[in-house]
Symmetry: D2
Subunit: 355 residues, 4 copies
Amino acid sequence: MSGNSIGKLFTVTTAGESHGAGLVAIVDGCPPNIPLTEADLQVDLDRRKPGTSRHTTQRREDDVVEIISGVFEGKTTGTAIALLIRNTDQRSKDYGNIAEQFRPGHADYTYYHKYGIRDYRGGGRSSARETAVRVAAGAIAKKVLAAQFGVKIYGYLSQLGPNRPSSFDATVIENNPFFWPCEADIPALENYMDNLRKSGNSVGAAVTVIAEGVPVGLGEPVFDRLDAELAHSLMSINAVKGVEIGDGFDCIEALGTEFRDEMTSTGGFLSNHAGGILGGISSGQPIVARIALKPTSSLRLEGRSINQHGEDVTVVTKGRHDPCVGIRATPIAEAMMAMTLLDAALRHRGQNQKI
Amino acid sequence: MSGNSIGKLFTVTTAGESHGAGLVAIVDGCPPNIPLTEADLQVDLDRRKPGTSRHTTQRREDDVVEIISGVFEGKTTGTAIALLIRNTDQRSKDYGNIAEQFRPGHADYTYYHKYGIRDYRGGGRSSARETAVRVAAGAIAKKVLAAQFGVKIYGYLSQLGPNRPSSFDATVIENNPFFWPCEADIPALENYMDNLRKSGNSVGAAVTVIAEGVPVGLGEPVFDRLDAELAHSLMSINAVKGVEIGDGFDCIEALGTEFRDEMTSTGGFLSNHAGGILGGISSGQPIVARIALKPTSSLRLEGRSINQHGEDVTVVTKGRHDPCVGIRATPIAEAMMAMTLLDAALRHRGQNQKI
Amino acid sequence: MSGNSIGKLFTVTTAGESHGAGLVAIVDGCPPNIPLTEADLQVDLDRRKPGTSRHTTQRREDDVVEIISGVFEGKTTGTAIALLIRNTDQRSKDYGNIAEQFRPGHADYTYYHKYGIRDYRGGGRSSARETAVRVAAGAIAKKVLAAQFGVKIYGYLSQLGPNRPSSFDATVIENNPFFWPCEADIPALENYMDNLRKSGNSVGAAVTVIAEGVPVGLGEPVFDRLDAELAHSLMSINAVKGVEIGDGFDCIEALGTEFRDEMTSTGGFLSNHAGGILGGISSGQPIVARIALKPTSSLRLEGRSINQHGEDVTVVTKGRHDPCVGIRATPIAEAMMAMTLLDAALRHRGQNQKI
Amino acid sequence: MSGNSIGKLFTVTTAGESHGAGLVAIVDGCPPNIPLTEADLQVDLDRRKPGTSRHTTQRREDDVVEIISGVFEGKTTGTAIALLIRNTDQRSKDYGNIAEQFRPGHADYTYYHKYGIRDYRGGGRSSARETAVRVAAGAIAKKVLAAQFGVKIYGYLSQLGPNRPSSFDATVIENNPFFWPCEADIPALENYMDNLRKSGNSVGAAVTVIAEGVPVGLGEPVFDRLDAELAHSLMSINAVKGVEIGDGFDCIEALGTEFRDEMTSTGGFLSNHAGGILGGISSGQPIVARIALKPTSSLRLEGRSINQHGEDVTVVTKGRHDPCVGIRATPIAEAMMAMTLLDAALRHRGQNQKI
């Protein structure tokens, strides 16, 4: 399979550019008889969509999704589900001046050299706009996981530049524009973001995503370990530069006696340093993954670069951009984890369940 | 494809358990006419093999590889290359007492629940012994990358518990049992490891792996981005809990102006925070990845767990184990990066090169 | 990958039902910089579309295709190409009476038992309407094959019920509604079809498809032999019950001395019984495949069947149907052969071409 | 995946050449807890192995298979099963004279031009010797199909040159060296083959393979239809030039009223022209496939060809060859059908079965 597909049994293939006609996904292998409407997908699309607060890009996209196929009388039929989201607010003229420039930190340079041609409008295929249709596809995966496997997935922004949550309250995550798990921190975060935006700069972030209720046994040794598949799917999100499972990089300085999650007959696992995965297979504990997202490179602050002719240029990115792409990344990370877990669940059922 | 294969065009499939008859790999899609002998593979196998210093497991495996097919008169023929490594030093009796126990932090529990059966001897399929044949397959990938694409891959231990290299000298990496890039640190490391071993405990580590000479253009948007594929392959190594590309998690606190790698016509890229990958495609800069390896859970220090009947047990792992699995992980990480880069290179050539 | 995709490097994924909103394809892995417009695709769509003569279904579909992505300023960009064809002439009411019946010879029974639900309107996903978007995707493959590999593909109806061409003239194939290679036969064929249509019955057919200019070397031993891949793709067309390469079933009674295609230094191959494929790899001769298409089961003549409740029913299919589905199958067979050859060409180039 | 693998969930990857060290298969995705020993595989290997009658090649290969991994205490563990068959009777010197010649009708020419190198000994990778390890892998699939799905597969030689069975009795198929279903025909067949062998020529054949007890619902629309997958796997067998499902090519002249398989509430399907597959999905009827195998091109009768330098040569193939490769093909066809059905069954279970 070429690069625009992910998953072996539950397979999502996407297409579409930032400033083209729209975004398409084909979701293949969805179990039948799952109630599904466009409204189900819209919930997560609305959580991700730009322009909902002053802290994200001011591009206005309604991100209305149409289900073209695979659903009949409100239920999935088991056949391929095609999704279409039309682009509505493309301002291609914003990009005329960078048609021949390689914006520093962007994919302009690599796409051009890979293909010898590139759609320069808003980054074309490399734009994070593509993730809208992932979120729609992920919402389908979430529904199936909940209906057939009892799995629930949620995420939150676990770091925004230097800011970390002062406390953790899952119930407040959806109540602020940051998916932040601590209500008391919000005024400081808003202040931080206002200053950042005014400075014209951007900053990185971390998102944590958790799956609860995962049955023991998901993940295929050895190369398609569940953690390897999660690393793949989460690293495929734009701007992600690192993926951790459980304690992640903190395991480097841990001793074996500290890290191994002991068990008792009455208490089950006594800790979850492993993040819910042992030997590449889900253990029944919550699966915990954390991703690092780099600061966007689209800045109105001047940067040095070259153009297609190899000449020095000074690049200023106008357009409309997120000062912290991590802020809208929580629903995307949830979507990727959902696709990966559902694929693993179907594969496990295929090999290991007797009729 | 089921879980024991990796790669789309350059595909490696492995089989074999810690205490079974041996390990097998089928390497499919290798370009033809590449000179290849068993000695080529043995070099990396010897770098990885146990028992070469007192700091690794004392299990003695010669890890002699036989090329069963795919090579004719010293050259690859383009057909499938089968590799066989016989196991020779299995002491299955070491494991009799854990036949029904789930060692804490191990895959015993998850394999048993996934499959309803497990080969408990030395972890069976979940053992890191499986990585021997990955290293052999990776050596083939390295040869092709060097011959056809000018790519050179090397790695080193970049952290051992709390110890970090005091300085960096690539020329000393192969001169010590740790793949450590600073000669002056070796006595302290040996001392640290001696104490750790005596304590019966284990510790985590980090390995950094680098590819130089990578042509611009490798990696398939959007799901099979080169960084996503690397995250997959590196996270598929036993004990790995985190993967970073370039600055990795340090990007969280970075500002956009700091992180974006600027370019000039004379100097090319002025920095490499991105780790050689932009938009999921290689930029021509060195590709830099870092992985975190957890401390092994096989300890002679007692741990609480349960057995297959759900009863509390106290587990002591005898066997022969590495106090720090990261020490032997450098050749494995190189092998995985090599497979992934070669697969990306062949895919790129397939789509984008004219005849 | 789930079942709605075909191809490893040049991958086509389709979605859509007969009476849903429309048909979608995502064409992934297309080489960049190939000139491509919707008009290029429309040519083949118009060759396949229904209602162009009295000998095919009277359903009227314009089959207008929209390229949603992957093309910029008239050229492919190397990224995923999404295609959309809206359905416009669905008369779902034609199907109300068969909502709970299993039409004999149709997929109604098997879809219902596989999924526990089915979109009964016009056969839903099992309808040959799905092939419209295959034809559009195949037209892209044809363009690339011609531009980069010098391959030309064409097909013709080689049998219509008991009728076989009296002579062969490739230049007349496109001049009649049957894709028939003998002009003199047309009046008799029209008469045959008029009688068939009046009788309310249907009949089978055979289509031959040929690729000329195929370079030697395409096809991957051993399972992905070129003939095996062609058998897969051609048998995936609705109603196909048999696939032959070269002499096909005639080889059973042939002697070795008759069948083996001898060569001379001046004349090259002296015959082409093998149909252009030796050992699963293209030989440089024309590739010749022939498929058998069953008579459509949608008849206004009564048939015995059962309904979803297991009760006996008498089924009469109203709707609008082709009395011989083979008549419109030539462009579909060409499309499938084109996809398969291009995929093989890209895979071959990936493994075997040096940069 | 490269070309040496088949199957999505139940995946078989093979390696090995005619005159190399041996043959290897990795069988991935096998359900756990299936009793399995080498003796189970040997049964089918012995049915296929050469030298059991005067009507097949006199090469003597014991074809003893070793299970290297994936089986523990007599049961499959769910992990990858590696199989090894050593070659023992290679007479490479038989091939010295054809090292630079392209035998007419063979893969010599195409392998050489594809890869620029070839293992000329006995056809190397293109030899039908490779099918030994397919038969071993297929025996595993048969066991799982029987144990978990109630499926039974058997085949027979349905045509040998111009000879067709005079009657059909399934119980005699295993009692003669031809897998022939009519005992009375055997003397005439032996006589036919004796004459053919003396003449130095070869002839084609047809094999029919049948699966009984197949549950309704196997096969993935639209490209991975069960018939398309069967066509792929059966056409991947050496020498196969055609594949039919059910009535196959006879459907061309059939009327719709004749071909569609009607049903009644008491009698179920009243006929099986479709060969057990409707819309690409198994219907619950027996699955019937038929393949055409060309006459072997390895003849001691002179043939015209060219050598690697483009010069005319006269080729005489000494070696030891089957005068009718179809005679030993029945177990191979069974093996391929078994792999394909099991893969389809696991995929179906993954998507459609609730836990």
